[in-house]
Symmetry: C2
Subunit: 247 residues, 2 copies
């Protein structure tokens, strides 16, 4: 795989780097080809949002951080795209929020679980999900397969760049779901407890900052969560995208 | 490459088939990985348009057919994505409109031109562009390289699923450009003479039908073209996408 050469001050640096990381993930066998198409769809929505974290997204990120801090067993779900796009960002959030990472992928044919596991091991982190031994009911894809010590017991699950089915099943299973997805109309954000309509590369570092803040102020975290209105956030995200098409 | 198995009455048949064709194109070396990401972006816009040819798109397709019929030297530009997605549809339009096909790609490293040429040869069609011998000024990518008998002399160029630079250079070079692109805000439709905001798989067969109609009625074609308002079409396409985000 070729090196990524692009000056950091290039206006499309983040976007070009993301594309490069996904293509590299495909070459390594970590990312499925459909992940690149999904990434393209995400790019279209991010473009409409001006490629920046909008105010409604920051409110959702702040509430998500509060929910992570107050959770008993929060967990961060990693798939093929997020493993290559935001490995370091997930590890940092995992560290500050004391939330393990678990590999959860739609298709685990071949040795994809192992490849993703090794990808994290390179950074001295060993996620759950290498040998899933429990099932989330209602799902037929490999997404059903979870670790009995991890996702299975979690009360709060952070999912990013996902297909819609799983969020619904996790919610039905009594869990709270924080979703990061650039398309507010897709099923994941429509079903989630907290829907972050933002680029995962921008959202995760900001969430880690808020987690650090709330760890010292649990009462404030409780208040933020009490006052948070996800329906309003979703509505504002739709308005923002509509505005992107007003000329 | 695996076979594509999906019942034709599946609600997402066209979309799943398109994804399969692009992935197959990648496996064959015809399509660049970036083509899959671009396809994903297109899917996002098509989704917002309800995955059907809207009235404004049909007006643009009709005007485009009129322009093709009245052109002296129309040409159909083929790239990696269109070669795999709509090979048969381009060949049919080429036949009815008497417009040759020319291979024009952003990156022609390796033997991509030859692979695309052979892909058409399988259907007994030999497009221009295997050995480009002329240049379109203003472009630095391989897109500048054209055939002196084809694109170089053309008065009307049909481009689909393209990056923005080229349309601008073709227009500056005195050519008329018909663009098919699902994102009305991207540079290609913004610069084109006729902007078809529609899925290329739906637009090309419809264009071929109108071409057959106009071939017998050149005066009607002239009238359709005279009355066509591309700015209005672009404006309506933006409204349609905004409406997709109103809930």
């Amino acid at each position: 795989m070729s090196e990524f050469h692009c000056p950091e001050n290039h206006p499309r640096y983040q976007s070009l780097r993301a594309r490069h990381l996904i293509e590299e993930g495909i070459a390594k066998g970590i990312t499925h080809l459909s992940g690149l198409a999904a990434h393209g769809r995400g790019e279209a929505f991010d473009y409409m949002l001006g490629e920046k974290t909008q105010a409604f997204a920051e409110r959702a990120i702040r509430a998500a951080a509060a929910m992570m801090v107050l959770a008993e067993r929060p967990i961060i779900s990693a798939n093929g795209n997020t493993s290559v796009l935001v490995r370091e960002e997930m590890i940092e959030l995992s560290r500050v929020a004391n939330a393990p990472i678990e590999i959860n992928i739609f298709n685990d044919a071949g040795n994809r679980r192992e490849l993703i596991f090794k990808h994290f091991q390179e950074k001295s982190v060993e996620p759950y999900g290498l040998n899933p031994d429990a099932l989330i009911s209602g799902l037929t894809s490999a997404r059903a397969r979870v670790d009995s010590r991890g996702m299975f017991l979690a009360d709060v699950v952070l999912v990013s760049l996902e297909d819609g089915d799983r969020t619904e099943c996790l919610i039905k299973g009594g869990k709270k779901v924080i979703a990061i997805d650039l398309n507010p109309l897709s099923r994941t954000p429509q079903m989630a407890t907290i829907s972050i309509v933002d680029n995962v590369q921008r959202a995760l570092p900001l969430m880690a900052e808020y987690v650090l803040e709330f760890k010292e102020q649990r009462e404030q975290a409780e208040q933020v969560l009490r006052e948070y209105d996800n329906a309003a956030v979703l509505k504002e995200s739709l308005s923002a995208i509509r505005a992107g098409f007003s000329k």
